[in-house]
């Protein structure tokens, strides 16, 4: 069973490297943001597999926090790309 977890972690790490390739190469900014979003999600699954391998439940709190941070970062980037600012002070 532990061998299976290691193989799963290996494959997920390889896909993480593929996402890093898109993050570095991506021709536009939106490509990089898409890659960054996918990297956050893949990092969550890497943490889950690590907590299975090390056999501790303390990593599970990291999962919720990282998913929330990933979504907030992506939403902020999308708003910045669309309007050029993140915090809008003018009431509309």
């Amino acid at each position: 069973m532990m061998m299976f977890y290691w193989v799963a972690l290996f494959i997920v790490s390889i896909s993480f490297a593929g996402l890093l390739f898109r993050l570095v190469k991506g021709p536009t900014v939106a490509d990089r943001v898409v890659a960054l979003d996918a990297i956050g999600v893949t990092l969550v699954s890497i943490v889950a597999l690590l907590s299975l391998i090390i056999e501790t439940e303390f990593f599970l709190e990291v999962i919720l926090l990282m998913s929330i941070l990933s979504f907030i970062g992506t939403a902020a980037f999308a708003k910045f790309l669309e309007r050029g600012e993140i915090f809008n002070r003018d009431p509309r």
């Binding site: 069973m1 299976f4 977890y5 799963a8 494959i11 997920v12 390889i14 896909s15 993480f16 490297a17 593929g18 996402l19 390739f21 898109r22 536009t28 900014v29 939106a30 490509d31 943001v33 898409v34 890659a35 979003d37 996918a38 999600v41 893949t42 969550v44 699954s45 889950a48 597999l49 907590s51 299975l52 056999e55 439940e57 599970l60 709190e61 999962i63 919720l64 998913s67 929330i68 990933s70 979504f71 992506t74 939403a75 980037f77 999308a78 708003k79 790309l81 669309e82």
Partner: protein, 137 residues
């Protein structure tokens, strides 16, 4: 022989292990498909499609496998995992939609293979409606 099957613990552990292996294999497969899609697909919109759908299902399966492992094998019912699974299931497609919309608004071209673009006429229609409202006022 019969004593080892007493209380049914032996078979249940094997069943839970099979369930965990199925879930985590699905998740790993979809993570690999995500990376493949992000590398091979031609433009931002198709990459958003790959990154939002398949990565959602992949991380969902891996988290469910972890949750089942900690519930049945260790006896820990972690409610934060449940919240994280629901949160990811809701917000990941929304994030993909936001990025795709922002990319279209900043004027990134669609790929040459695209046969249909519904967003351009919709934006022009909205602009025309706003202008008519201004003229009426």
């Amino acid at each position: 022989m019969r004593n080892s099957w007493r209380e049914g613990r032996f078979s249940i552990e094997i069943l839970v292990d099979i369930l965990i292996i199925l879930l985590i294999s699905t998740g790993v497969l979809f993570s690999a498909v995500t990376a493949l899609g992000l590398i091979r697909l031609p433009d931002v919109y198709t990459r958003t499609h790959a990154a939002s759908k398949s990565s959602t299902l992949g991380v969902l399966s891996i988290l469910l496998g972890t949750f089942v492992h900690f519930w049945f094998n260790e006896g820990i019912f972690n409610t934060q995992m449940v919240i994280a699974i629901a949160f990811l299931f809701i917000t990941q497609p929304v994030a993909g939609h936001l990025i795709g919309r922002a990319a279209y608004m900043t004027g990134i071209k669609v790929a040459e293979e695209t046969v249909r673009d519904d967003m351009g006429p919709a934006i022009e229609k909205r602009k025309n409606n706003q202008q008519e409202e201004l003229e009426n006022e």
